[in-house]
């Protein structure tokens, strides 16, 4: 049974709550099969220097289904200025559009790959002023998230765990606080390791997830993409369905009366 609850992210109406990356696939055909299996309607892409030596090399874009919305990111930028310049180029690459969507990602260092909240905020303010719809990747500090929302970002995208770590949601308490205060969509970006991580985040009420390594790095990326698709839907449905409360002592699911031999 399908649940009809689209949501709007950066002005785009989406029915799939799973956004997937296009990095680190062993080849383009595998990537394309995984993108299709994921059911994603939005995919992230990176902006990089054209390789002047690689003549006539196949282009990424030929392998991304046309109907999928491109979400350019600023991965690889370690300060606000580079991130802003990258977004301006991304806008040009996307052939304009009034309010281009960008995934803002300003990292602190190559070792931890953690976001630099200070620089991310600086870049977000600039980009918003230039008309971008900014989806910022951030840490799980509710204060950073609030400031990004106040800066006019179209969503906040806290990490579940470091990029590529596969640790899942390390701090549900922090995510709960972010959800309690946010008026824009909350997307968990980075850290997912497997399908149940997606379901768990969705059950907490996040609007969606952004996953790359957990799919592209799986032994069978296409199968994992399908698993993530179902897990995100399952988690959303469970969130809507209203789970039973947790208690130490349970209740019988079969009637305790009418048993044979009783008096």
């Amino acid at each position: 049974m399908a649940l009809m609850d689209d949501f709007v992210l950066g002005g785009r109406k989406l029915s799939s709550r799973l956004i997937v990356g296009t990095g680190k696939y062993k080849d383009f055909p595998t990537m394309k099969a995984a993108l299709l299996a994921s059911g994603a309607e939005m995919v992230t892409v990176a902006v990089r220097r054209l390789d002047l030596k690689a003549q006539g090399e196949a282009s990424l874009l030929h392998w991304i289904p046309k109907e999928m919305v491109l979400l350019p990111n600023t991965a690889g930028c370690f300060n606000a200025e580079d991130a802003v310049r990258t977004c301006r180029l991304a806008r040009e690459l996307e052939l304009g559009g009034e309010n281009p969507l960008v995934k803002l990602e300003v990292l602190s260092d190559p070792a931890t790959l953690l976001p630099d909240a200070e620089e991310t905020l600086k870049a977000a303010r600039q980009l918003v002023s230039e008309g971008f719809r900014v989806l910022p990747y951030t840490n799980d500090d509710p204060v950073s998230a609030r400031k990004l929302e106040e800066a006019g970002c179209a969503a906040v995208m806290p990490l579940g765990a470091p990029i590529g770590s596969g640790l899942g949601l390390r701090n549900p308490y922090a995510l709960q606080m972010i959800l309690d205060q946010a008026k824009v969509p909350v997307i968990v970006d980075a850290g997912v390791g497997t399908a149940s991580d997606c379901a768990l985040c969705m059950e907490m009420g996040v609007s969606g997830l952004l996953v790359n390594t957990a799919i592209s790095g799986a032994q069978d990326p296409v199968l994992m993409a399908g698993a993530m698709k179902l897990a995100v839907e399952a988690g959303r449905m469970a969130f809507k369905a209203g789970r039973i409360p947790r208690k130490l002592y349970g209740n019988a699911s079969s009637p305790l009366s009418g048993v044979i031999g009783s008096r």
Binding site: T22, V47, R48, L50, L61, T213
Partner: protein, 66 residues
């Protein structure tokens, strides 16, 4: 004429525009965007925008990323 393209110092013919530079570099096959001395050059202006000695150019495209 010398210009730095994607971090490399190149020796280029005189009188190139952004458009002819891209053709010169056979960079047509991909969707690209160009930054000249820190500012984006809109596609509409690729044909007019003349390059100058010492220009710093960034020619970018989309690649896989998360």
């Amino acid at each position: 004429m010398r210009a730095t393209v994607n971090g490399e110092l190149l020796l280029l013919p005189e009188g190139l525009t952004v458009l002819t530079l891209l053709q010169h570099l056979k960079a047509g096959k991909d969707r690209v965007a160009v930054e000249r001395n820190g500012a984006v050059v809109k596609k509409a202006r690729h044909a007019e925008e003349l390059l100058a000695e010492g220009d710093v150019l960034e020619i970018v495209t989309f690649v896989g990323g998360g």
